[in-house]
């Protein structure tokens, strides 16, 4: 039988010590920063390329209807909106300023962040989807004057089919997976939050 004081003596005489050195931490900070920078860089390159391609198409190709230019503008807007949101959330979670708050506040922040991400991936996606569909429809007006009817009809059916698959299969799976993760996380966090509450 041991009392708490003996347990404390045992603890203080223990050997386990961290096997991570100060230099290793510094090395990780450098690589972490590089990884972060690289990720942001490649995201920017991808978006920049998409926007430049759209602009280049606008300049080089002489479209016969104004609707196509509008379609391109909508596409650029959608890409920009998506990128700005991703970047904003990414910066927010990377900034770590919430780590300085008390545990309960941090848990609340994580919950709010996850819910925000969930909203972005569900509700905002529908708006995003509608905008892309409108852009395709506007571009379809131009194609109506160029392509043979049956080719246009084929493309139209393919696009509609692809949208339906994305909406009812891929997105449903994604939302289900995301919700499961959020529910599991909220469950864990709620449990801990309850433990920290003043009793």
């Amino acid at each position: 039988m041991k009392g708490f004081d003996e347990i404390q003596q045992l603890w203080q005489g223990q050997k386990p010590e961290p096997n991570v050195s100060f230099e290793t931490i510094l090395q990780h900070i450098k690589s972490h920063r590089t990884a972060l920078t690289k990720k942001l860089f490649w995201q920017s390159v991808a978006v920049g390329t998409a926007v430049l391609t759209a602009l280049w198409i606008c300049i080089v190709v002489d479209f016969s209807t104004w609707t196509t230019y509008l379609a391109l503008a909508i596409m650029v807007g959608c890409i920009g909106y998506y990128f700005a949101n991703q970047l904003n959330d990414y910066k927010d979670i990377s900034r770590n300023r919430h780590l300085l708050s008390k545990p309960q506040d941090y848990i609340n922040y994580l919950r709010a962040f996850q819910q925000k991400r969930n909203r972005f991936n569900t509700r905002s996606y529908v708006v995003y989807e509608i905008c892309i569909a409108v852009a395709f429809a506007l571009y379809g007006i131009e194609m109506y004057f160029i392509l043979p009817f049956w080719t246009l009809a084929g493309i139209f059916i393919f696009v509609v089919f692809w949208f339906l698959i994305c909406h009812f299969v891929f997105m449903k799976q994604y939302i289900k997976h995301e919700n499961m993760r959020i529910e599991e996380m909220i469950g864990n966090l709620e449990r801990i939050k309850g433990q920290f509450r003043d009793r």
Partner: protein, 165 residues
Amino acid sequence: MRDQRQLFQQLFEKNSKKVYHLCYGYTGDSDSANDLMQETFIKVWQNLDTFRNESQFSTWIYRIAVNTCLSYLRTAKRRTTDELNDNIIENYAEEPSEKQEQIALLYKSISQLDENERIIITMVLDEIPYPEIAEVAGISEGNLRVKIHRIKHKLTEIYNSNERL
């Protein structure tokens, strides 16, 4: 930059062992504890500029460590307590001595406490002042004292029961 590096080195040397103990007490696994300790100090480095002197550096670091441990729940693959306990025994199997066995048993007992109890008790065992623990845990000192009394009793019971087994 040089000053920041010096300050960071000082903070690391002064606090790394205690942060490691906190993470070890929380996870019951030395590899995860090392990872969490590393993650904690990366966050400390990233946020050095934002430190406002409202609390002690050590309190600030513990708070980051606690939050890192809490978020470990959502990112790491969860293992059951039994698996953790096996891991604890394995970690100490390299140098089997009576003392090592007792320490392994102590970590096993800590892992049987609730998450917040593990965090609080590791700080108590490391003799962190009560006001500092209260600030880290975000609860009043009065309530902390009640909690500590209960946790000490609970840990002692679990330890002795594990020892008998």
